[in-house]
Structure formats: C-alpha cells, structure tokens
C-alpha cells in the first residue's frame, strides 16, 4: 500500500491521495528530480501477479506515453516499485467532465462545440499513432478552469479490461458509453472511440445519458439494439446540424460513423455555420444492422435438459394470491403442469386468507402472544433469544416471519426475546495480526482504529508491522455495538546505524546492507588513526531512514602498506 511521504522509485514523493478506484488509486506527488507536481496512478497490488496483465499494461502504457498533444494528459513514466505498478502523469488541477455535468447539468451548445473540438483534435492525434482509447467517458476527461480539456488514461483501460484478474474478479463497470461492437465482443477500432464521444456529446447537451437501465446488461443491450433517443425531444431549438453529429457518431454500424476523428472535428467545426443550421437530418448510408454479420439466430435455449433436474423458483411460487387465479384464467393448457407444481409446493394453504402480522416489538411476551393470537396466528411455544441494544431485556425484539408481512391465518409465529445489549468481550490481541483482528471485530460492530506506536527495538519487529503490540481496552472488558477500540501496531522504519561510532567492519556493513536492501560504495582511505578495516565515514548519518536501493558511501581505513614502507625507506633515502 502506498502511503503519504513514501517515495516511489526514489523519485516521486507521495503528497496526498486525489482519487480512488477499484483498480487503482491516484496520488498527487512531487517529482523530486524535476521539482514538479505529478499525478501518480498506482495499480492494485495483486495485479502484479498476473503476468499477462503486466506485459500488456507496460506495452500499452509505454505506447501511450509517446503521445504529446495539448488535449491529452501527458504520461511521463511507467514503472514498478516493490510490486506496485505505477504511471506518472501530468498533474492537472481541474475537475472531470462528469463532475462538471453533475454540477451544471446540461452545457450550452457553444461550450459543447468547444469541448468536442478539443476532444476530436486530441483523439485524431492518438489515432494517428494507432492508439485507441477504448474507454472514453466523462470521468476520463479533465477540464481546467480556463476551459482546456484533456483526455486521460489512454490505453490503460484496455490493459485493465483484459487482465485475467479483473475478468474473474470484477463486476462490469460503466457501460454507458460502450460501443455496440465492444458489447458484442468484436473488439475496438478507432471508430469505437467516436461512438463513445457521440454518447458523451449527447450527455453534455442534455445533462442526461441516452441509454439508461437497471443493470449493465440492459444498458449494453440498448447500445446494441435501441435507436438513440432523439436529441430534439430532449432539447428545444437544437440545430439539426448538431443532432446530425450525434446521429453519425453513434451509429450502431461502424461503417455509418465518421471515418476518423478528423472528419468529426471538421463537422463539429462547421456545424453552426449559417448554411448548415437547417440541413436535413442525416441518413445512414448502410444498414444499421450489418448483413455481413448475419448470425444464425439462436433457437431459444431449450432448458428442458436441466428442467428435469431443477426448476427455478420464481417470486410467484411462494406468494399465493389472486395473481395465480388471473394467470390460471389466461394461460393455456400447456402450463397446467407448472401449476401442478405450484400446488404441490404450497399444498392446500391457498384457501386461507392472508393476514398482516402485527408489530409486537418492545411488548412483554404475554402481551405479544395475546396480540398475535387475536390476529389469528399461532405462537411458537419456544422463545428465541437475540441481543438488542434498543429493546429492554425480556421484551420482544422481532417476530419470524417479520411484522408487516401478509401471512396465512393460523401460521405459527416465532417470538424473539431480547437478551439486552449485545456485548462483545475483548480478548488479548497482542501478538495477533492486525488485519485479522480488525475484520473479526468490525464484523461484530466494533470500530477499530489503528495507531502506530514507536518501539524501542525496531529489529524485533521486522516484517511484523501488522502485529498488534498494544490495545487501549483491556482484555475481558466488554464493548457494545459501535464502540471503539484502538489497536497499536509498531511504527517501523529502518535507520542507518552509527557505523563509525560503533567501529563496524566492511563485512558487518555488507551483511547489514544486504539485509536492508541498500548498496555499499566502499572507498579505502589510508589512516593510522584506527585499526585497518574499520569504517571511518558513512555518507548518511546514523539514525537517518534507510531507503531501499540507495547507495551508502563508506570510507574504510587502510593502514599497513602506508605505515611500514615509508618508515623503512626513509633512512635508506637519507643515506644516499
């Protein structure tokens, strides 16, 4: 995990987090070599295990780093530090288009034209270099206060979408800008970016997304099948030339779209010219649903193979009410089989009327029983116990089935009696793994706060930074839901020892350097002040923090040849 103050690859010092996402976090950082602010995108650690992903990510990101255009966020560097993959980008102080739309709603036509010109210009540059963005959406477009627009995350989206890991472990993200060919798995071309751009233009003009739905698949299907809702229905007095841009960009058949971003740019640029305002509505040249692509319409999947084994239970199966009789009346004889099943599942009870279960919470057991019996229910003889911080001990917390539900008269209702507050007994967590304890306690409703605590001897805690060394609440105490506990973990940082003062030898230093992952640059200096082989200078002072990969310069005393020879030679010289 990346933390504030950390220096990535000895160069980018993390200042603060500026964005969080499922796959990566973005940090504001200082490039200590060039002395400028940069944005560093650090990918989730476990992606590093996916070799295929790593290769693809590096390739795509490197390709994208070659782009240089005012409307594209510049990518400076790509690399890996200690298993974290990161991308260093130009830092833009601005908001993204999604935030702008959220705040402003629909933008004006001149504003949209200005944004679209910049976006098509930037895309044209990237497409010239054969780089497809593949994930154009307002979240990926930044806008500065002066109106300058910049596209970010070129190429990365694709790398991420193809990683093995995201495939198995992710829920599909935004599909609001998904081109039909991508939804049906046919892959992207530069025209895919134009489609997304068209959807984005619609959103900028209306403040709304053209295709909405309850699930990602519903939206994806709409992209594939439904015609785009008419812009003029959403927006009064919109010039036909403007609507035509969207019609062309968002064609389902890529052949009907602009050939490239530059063509779209030219069209946007002249859209408000006098002679174009009343141009006719754009008509597609090719069929929207391409015949080349004919696929044999699959026969509706015959589920009978599974049907013998299992039958899905639908909502209606256990809601026996008048609905069934309506269905009965209207459904053909072929469905009698299904009804037969339903009647087996809910034998006989269908005749009894439904009654709402009264709310008996906070009542005594006797009161609750009589109220339920009054309503026509049976009450289970055995009471169940449950903890509650709201309901006094001994009173009823809830029933099963729950109050408010419509249930057959005569159904047996179980009462849950309160055992008072749910107290959690705190154990001695010292020596245990912080993350495990935190998860366990959090599940029980305790708020866990982690604090770093200095330790006397850091060497004892190497590789144990997640070990709990103290807790602010003693074991045996009891906490209730919502209470806090502070768990202390050691504040680990490695420091250079006082090699000079402690008279270390080169061998000592080498062992230490190997252990902490820094390099030694040894210079031998002649001196007779100390015995030979002893370190007499270290380039980083004692107790300063060790940086992995750093090179520590040390001077080591070297004595013998210096001492002996001149002493012997001098008298000889004198005699000559």
């Amino acid at each position: 995990m990346v933390v504030k103050g950390q220096k990535i690859n000895e160069r980018y010092e993390i200042l603060k987090i500026i964005g969080e996402g499922g796959m990566a976090n973005v940090y504001l950082a200082e490039d200590t070599i060039l002395g400028r602010k940069v944005a560093v995108k650090v990918l989730r650690g476990d992606l590093a295990n996916d070799e295929k992903f790593v290769r693809r990510f590096q390739r795509e990101a490197l390709a994208a780093s070659s782009l240089n255009h005012p409307n594209i966020v510049e990518m400076y560097d790509v690399g890996e530090d200690d298993g974290d993959f990161y991308i260093v980008m130009e830092y833009i102080e601005g908001r993204n288009l999604k935030q702008l739309i959220k705040r402003r709603g629909a933008l004006t036509i001149p504003e949209v034209i200005d944004i679209m010109l910049q976006l098509t210009d930037g895309l044209a540059h990237a497409h010239d270099a054969y780089i497809i963005h593949r994930d154009i959406k307002p979240q990926n477009i930044l806008i500065l206060d002066n109106g300058l627009v910049k596209i970010t995350d070129f190429g990365i989206a694709m790398a991420l979408n193809n990683s093995q890991l995201t495939q198995t472990n992710s829920v599909m993200g935004s599909v609001h800008y998904l081109p039909p060919e991508q939804a049906s798995g046919k892959g992207s071309t530069i025209k895919s970016d134009l489609y997304s751009l068209g959807i984005l233009m619609y959103e900028l003009l209306t403040g709304k997304l053209p295709f909405r739905g309850e699930s990602a698949v519903e939206i994806a299907l709409k992209h594939m099948k439904d015609p785009l809702p008419s812009l003029s229905r959403e927006l009064d007095n919109v010039p036909q030339s403007i609507e035509n841009i969207i019609i062309r960009a968002t064609a389902k058949n890529p052949k009907n779209r602009y050939n490239n971003a530059r063509e779209m740019y030219e069209d946007v640029k002249t859209a408000l010219d006098d002679e174009r305002i009343h141009e006719p509505r754009y008509i597609y040249k090719y069929l929207e649903h391409d015949l080349d692509d004919t696929k044999i319409l699959p026969v509706i999947k015959d589920d009978k193979g599974d049907g013998l084994i299992a039958k899905p239970i639908t909502d209606d199966d256990f809601k026996p009410n008048k609905k069934i009789f309506i269905i009965l009346g209207s459904i053909l004889a072929s469905l009698i089989l299904l009804l037969f099943l339903i009647f087996i599942i809910i034998p006989a009870v269908t005749e009894v009327p439904d009654v709402r279960i009264p709310d008996v919470s906070n009542m005594t057991v006797e009161d609750a029983e009589s109220k339920l019996k009054e309503a026509g229910f049976e009450v289970a003889i055995e009471l169940k116990e449950i903890s509650s911080d709201k309901i006094e001990e001994g009173n009823i917390v809830k029933t099963s089935p729950a109050s408010g539900r419509m249930i057959k008269k005569g159904t047996t209702v179980t009462l849950y009696q309160s055992t008072g507050e749910n107290l959690i007994e705190i154990e001695n967590y010292i020596g245990k793994d912080y993350i495990e304890v935190k998860s366990a306690l959090t599940l029980k409703g305790i708020k866990v706060i982690q604090e770093k605590k200095d330790v006397d001897d850091i060497s004892l805690y190497r590789d144990k930074e997640n070990i709990i060394i103290a807790q602010n609440i003693d074991s045996g105490s009891k906490l209730k839901d919502g209470d806090e506990i502070i768990l202390y973990t050691p504040n680990i940082y490695e420091v250079y020892p006082d090699m000079v003062g402690e008279k270390w030898t080169v061998a000592d230093a080498q062992v230490f350097a190997d252990e902490y992952g820094f390099n030694l640059d040894v210079t031998y200096k002649e001196t007779d002040a100390v015995s030979p082989g002893i370190i007499i200078y270290q380039s980083r002072p004692a107790n300063s923090k060790i940086v992995t990969g750093f090179t520590l310069k040390i001077d080591v005393s070297k004595a013998k040849p210096v001492q002996e020879e001149p002493i012997e030679e001098e008298p000889i010289n004198g005699t000559e």
Partner: protein, 246 residues
Amino acid sequence: MQTYYLTDAGKVREHNEDRVIIVKNDNEEYFMAVADGMGGHRAGEIASSMTIEYLRDAFLAMETIGDKANAVNFLRESVLTINKKIFAYTDEFPESKGMGTTLVVAIVTANYLLFGNIGDSSGFVMKEDKLYKVTKDHTLVNLLVSTGELTAEEAKLHPKKNVLMRALGANDPIDIDIFDVDMGVSEILLCSDGLTNMLSEEQIQKVLETQELTVEERVIRLIKKSNNRGGTDNISIAYLVRESGE
C-alpha cells in the same frame, strides 16, 4: 450422507478469498455453501467470510429450516441482510470499496433440495451417473447468450467471458436465483469458478464417477487436477454424497 469440503488458494494467488462450508443441524438437514470473494486489500476475504459466517450462524440458530417456503424465505432474507452488511462495511472502510462475493448454496432436507445462486460459482448434481449443472452463471456473456445477442460459440471466445453481472456487495437490491431440485439426485457438488475454469464438466464427472475413491479423495483429486492445469484462481468444493437408501 457423506460430506467433504476443501478450499485451496491455487498456484497463482497469494490469498484465498474463497470460503466454503457444510453444516448439519439437529434435524439432519444440511446446509452447503461456497462464496468467492473479490476486491483488493483482503476485502474479498472479508466479504466471503461475512457471507458464510452469517449463513452458518443463521442456519444453525434454527432447529429446523422448515418447509420449502420457509427455506426460500430464509435464503432471500439472508442475502438481503448480508448485502446490507457488505455495503455498510464498504461505507465505513473506503479502502475495501468494490468488495463483494459470489454465493452458491444448497439446502438438503428429507423432503426437498434447494439450490441458490448469485454470481459465477456453480452448483452441480449427479443423477443416474450424469453430471448436471443446476445454477446459471450471472455473467455478462451468459446474459448476452440468453438474449440471443451471442451464440454459445461466440461466448466461449468473448473477451469479457468472466465479467460478473451479479454479486453480493455489487448490486442493491440483490436477488438470488433459487432452484427446486429433483430429489432423485445422488450427489451434490458446489464449487467456485477456480474449478470450472480449469476442468470441463466431463472431467469433473469422470472424477466423481471413480468409485474406488472415497468422497474425500474425489474432492482432493479435483483440486489437484485444477492446480495441474494452471490453478490460476482459488478453488473451493463442497461435496455431498447420499448413501443409497437415503
């Protein structure tokens, strides 16, 4: 009844985000479940443990699961509660954002057999020496196939083959598919996609058919085979064999 369950991190992942369990109550009713967690910083493990622990405790808190209607309600209400818990957790710990889990369960009683499923873990049964998959994966590709947008052949090559459309912690509200399964089945196997991505149904069936192996050995062999084929994901299996006459 003979049961065995096991989970293995596989050969690539450092953590095991799967959770698996089989429990039996005093009324000789069995509850089996596999959850495959997702999300970084160990959040996947938290989501799958929260889910399995909740279900285990809730199941064991009841003397009996009751009739089929009760069992269906139990599953529906439980997943709603678990879903709320996961969302509450991510609200409080933003670093766990995106955490979620799949869930496949089976409830086995003397009178009925129910399967429940959210996501792309699988529930299989063996009947008359043939393996049947009961659950339907909630993947994008599967939905596209069911709407006729993709053929089964195209689906196999789809680049987003394993993208989930439904998971606990990802959809709100959440809906669980429930299947009323034939009582004539002889074996039940629940597993995470670590198994189904590595072995075909034929290969799974072949191992389950091997009568010389004990119940335990069959599960172990399935996991070994998956690891031999790459083991790119965590593998979990819950397996139950009904003895003849039961």
